[in-house]
Symmetry: C2
C-alpha cells in the first residue's frame, strides 16, 4: 500500500519557506503486531512542527527525509485484537501522511462530542492549554486586564475568550490589522494591537490603562521585554508557547532586565504542559464544549483541503496569516463518526 | 554640626572601583520638624548601593556628589515630640554618613533581640528575604535539592542554611574556593562550586545528581542559563537578587531559551520583595532569632571599622571577596542598647 507524505527537504535557515518541504509517495511499512494502521482524516498544522525541524525541543530533532510530525485524527483500518475497533476514529501523534502505523498505546479515543475537527484543537491540546493556562496557571479573576500574545492563534483565540468568559477585560496582540479587527468584532476582545506597529509601546499602554494582571504568552521571544512595563505588581506571566522562537535558526535572547522586573514587581512567570493536568482533561473538555454550545466561546477553525496544503499553511502561520485552529483535511468525516452532546454517561477522551 | 560622608564621585563605567567614590565633610542640614537627627552606629554595605549608582532600579538614580544610600542603625540625637525617644536606637533608610536627618515615618524601631548588628542583616531585610524566599516563594520541602547562587552572601548564606534546616540538601554557588570551603565546613552545605571554574557545568551536574528542585537566585544574569539544565520538572526559580546585573553598566542578556525551558519543565520563576510579607515580619524575625539561638542557623557577619572602609568593602563584595553580612561600624553600641531573648511580651520590630 502506498502513502503520500510531506517530508522535510532540508533544515530551514531563517524563516520557513515552501522549499523546506518535499512531497513523496512511499510504501506504508508493515504493521507491527501492537500497532494500528490509521487512514488519516485530519492533520494538525501546528507551531511545534516548525520547532522540531530546527532542533530538539520536546522531541528529537527531525532529519531531512522524515515526515513532518503532527497530531492526526484517523480511522482505524487494521489493528490488534483488544485494540481500537476497526472503523472507529482515534487520535494519534503521527505525521503529515495518508497512512500511519502507530503503537496502540500512543493513540487515544475520541469522544463523540462536538465536531470531529474540534478534537484537533479546541477540544484537544490547544483547548486544554488555553483552559488550564487561563484558569489554573494564570488564575484569571473577574475585573482583571488579561493580555494575550498570538491572540488569534489556535491557543490564543481560545485563551482570550476564556479570560473574557471569566469576567476579565481582554487585550490581544497579533501581527495584523485584519486579525485585530476580527478579535474585536467577533471574539469580544476589548482591544487588539499590532506587534509590528511602530507605535506598539504606546498602543499597548493606551489599550491597558490599568496595567495587565495576567500576560498569556504564546509567542515568547523579545516581545516579553516590551510587555514588562505594563504589568502590574503581582502580575502573572503564563508561558504557554514560544512560536517566535520556533521560526528562528538560533535562540532569541531573553529580555535583559527580566529578573530585575520580576523582583521589583513581585511577578510570577510560569510554564506548563497540558500533561501536568491529565486527570482533569475530560472535565475541561466538557466545560469547553459546553461554553461553545452556549455561545460563550467561538471555536475558530481554518481547515484546508488536501495534504498538499499543509506546508503552505505552516509557512503562512509563521508569516502571521491565519486565524484560529489551522488543520488540513485529507478525507471527509466517515459515517462511523457521529457527534452528539455530552451527557453524564459519556466517557469523553482522557487523552487528547 | 559637621558630618563626614561618602559620595558618588562619578557614575561607574563597568566594574566598580574606589575611584567611583569620594569622602566629604559637610554641614548637617537643619532638621525639619517631622524629622529625627540620627548619629550613625552601623551602616549596611549592600548590592543595592551599587545598583542606584548605575541607574534607576527600585529607587531613583543616584547623582554624582550624593551620599551612597544604605540602611543605617543610629541613635536618636534629636526629634519631634511623640517621635522615637532621644537616645533610643532606630533603623532608617539613610546613607554612608555620620549624621542623618530622616523623616520619622521612614524610621523603624529595633527590638532588643540578638546583637544590634544583626538588625542590619540577619534579623533585617536580608534575613527576611532569605526566610520568605525559602519558606514561601520557594516552598522548600525536606529531601529536595536546593541550589543557592551568591551562596556566601548576606542573603545567600542564610537562605542555604534555612533550606538545610527545612531538611533540604543544599548546594551553593560562589566565586571562590575559600568561600566554598567555608560553606561546606562551617554552614552545612552538601556541596559548593565555583562559578568561575572552567568545569562549572560538569561540577554542577556532579553536585546535583538528582537535579535541583529550588534554585534560589541572588545574582541573576547569565548564570541562570547554566542552571536550567539541572532543574527538575516543576522546579521553582526564586528571584531575590540580581547582583551580577548591579555591577554592569548595561543590562546583561537573559538566557535565550528561558521560556522554552520554563514550558518543557513546567517551571515557575518568581520574584518578590520583603514588603510583600510585611504582616509576618515580626513572626519571621522571631523564628530567625530562635534558629540562631538554638544553633541551627549561623549569622555570619563581616563588620569593618570606620566609615572609610565602606567603599572598599562594596568593591570587594562585587569582586567576590566577602562572606556573610557586610557592614561598617562608625561607633560602638551605646549603653542604651541591651539585647535580650524575645518573649511573648516583646514587641519585635515590624519594619526592618
Amino acid at each position: 500500500m502506498l502513502s503520500t507524505q510531506i517530508v522535510m527537504a532540508r533544515r530551514p535557515s531563517g524563516p520557513l519557506t515552501q522549499d523546506d518541504f518535499r512531497t513523496e509517495t512511499v510504501a506504508v511499512p508493515e504493521r507491527p503486531a501492537d500497532h494500528v494502521l490509521l487512514r488519516t482524516i485530519l492533520v494538525s498544522v501546528a507551531p511545534a512542527a516548525r520547532a522540531v525541524m530546527q532542533g530538539p525541543t520536546y522531541r528529537p530533532q527531525l532529519q531531512p527525509g522524515e515526515a513532518i510530525p503532527a497530531s492526526v485524527l484517523g480511522e482505524v483500518v487494521a489493528g490488534p485484537p483488544g485494540g481500537p475497533r476497526i472503523g472507529s476514529i482515534v487520535g494519534a501523534a503521527a505525521a503529515w501522511q495518508e497512512y500511519s502505523t502507530v503503537p496502540v498505546d500512543q493513540t487515544w479515543p475520541i469522544a463523540p462530542v462536538g465536531r470531529l475537527s474540534h478534537h484537533l484543537g479546541p477540544l484537544g491540546r490547544n483547548g486544554l492549554t488555553a483552559y488550564f493556562g487561563v484558569s489554573e496557571v494564570g488564575a484569571v479573576q473577574a475585573g482583571q486586564t488579561v493580555l494575550v500574545s498570538g491572540a488569534a492563534g489556535g491557543v490564543g483565540h481560545l485563551a482570550g475568550q476564556l479570560a473574557r468568559a471569566a469576567g476579565a477585560r481582554v487585550v490581544g496582540i497579533t501581527g495584523s490589522a485584519a486579525k485585530n479587527e476580527f478579535l474585536r468584532d467577533r471574539l469580544g476582545y476589548a482591544a487588539a494591537i499590532d506587534r509590528r506597529s511602530p507605535t506598539f509601546d504606546d498602543d499597548l499602554k493606551a489599550a491597558c490603562p490599568d496595567g495587565v494582571s495576567v500576560y498569556f504568552d504564546t509567542v515568547g521571544g523579545p516581545l516579553l521585554g516590551r510587555v514588562l512595563p505594563v504589568l502590574t505588581r503581582h502580575a502573572r506571566i503564563v508561558c504557554c508557547g514560544v512560536t517566535a522562537q520556533y521560526d528562528a535558526d538560533r535562540p532569541l535572547p531573553g529580555p535583559p532586565d527580566l529578573a530585575v522586573t520580576l523582583i521589583a514587581k513581585s511577578l510570577r512567570m510560569q510554564g506548563f504542559l497540558v500533561a501536568d493536568f491529565q486527570p482533569r482533561w475530560a472535565q475541561a473538555q466538557r466545560i469547553l464544549h459546553d461554553l461553545e454550545h452556549s455561545g460563550a466561546l467561538t471555536f475558530v477553525e481554518d481547515i484546508r483541503p488536501g495534504l498538499a496544503a499543509a506546508s503552505a499553511a505552516l509557512v503562512e502561520m509563521f508569516d502571521g496569516g491565519n486565524v484560529g485552529q489551522l488543520a488540513v483535511r485529507l478525507a471527509p468525516d466517515p459515517a462511523t463518526w457521529s457527534a452528539g452532546l455530552p451527557t453524564a454517561q459519556d466517557d469523553p477522551s482522557d487523552a487528547p
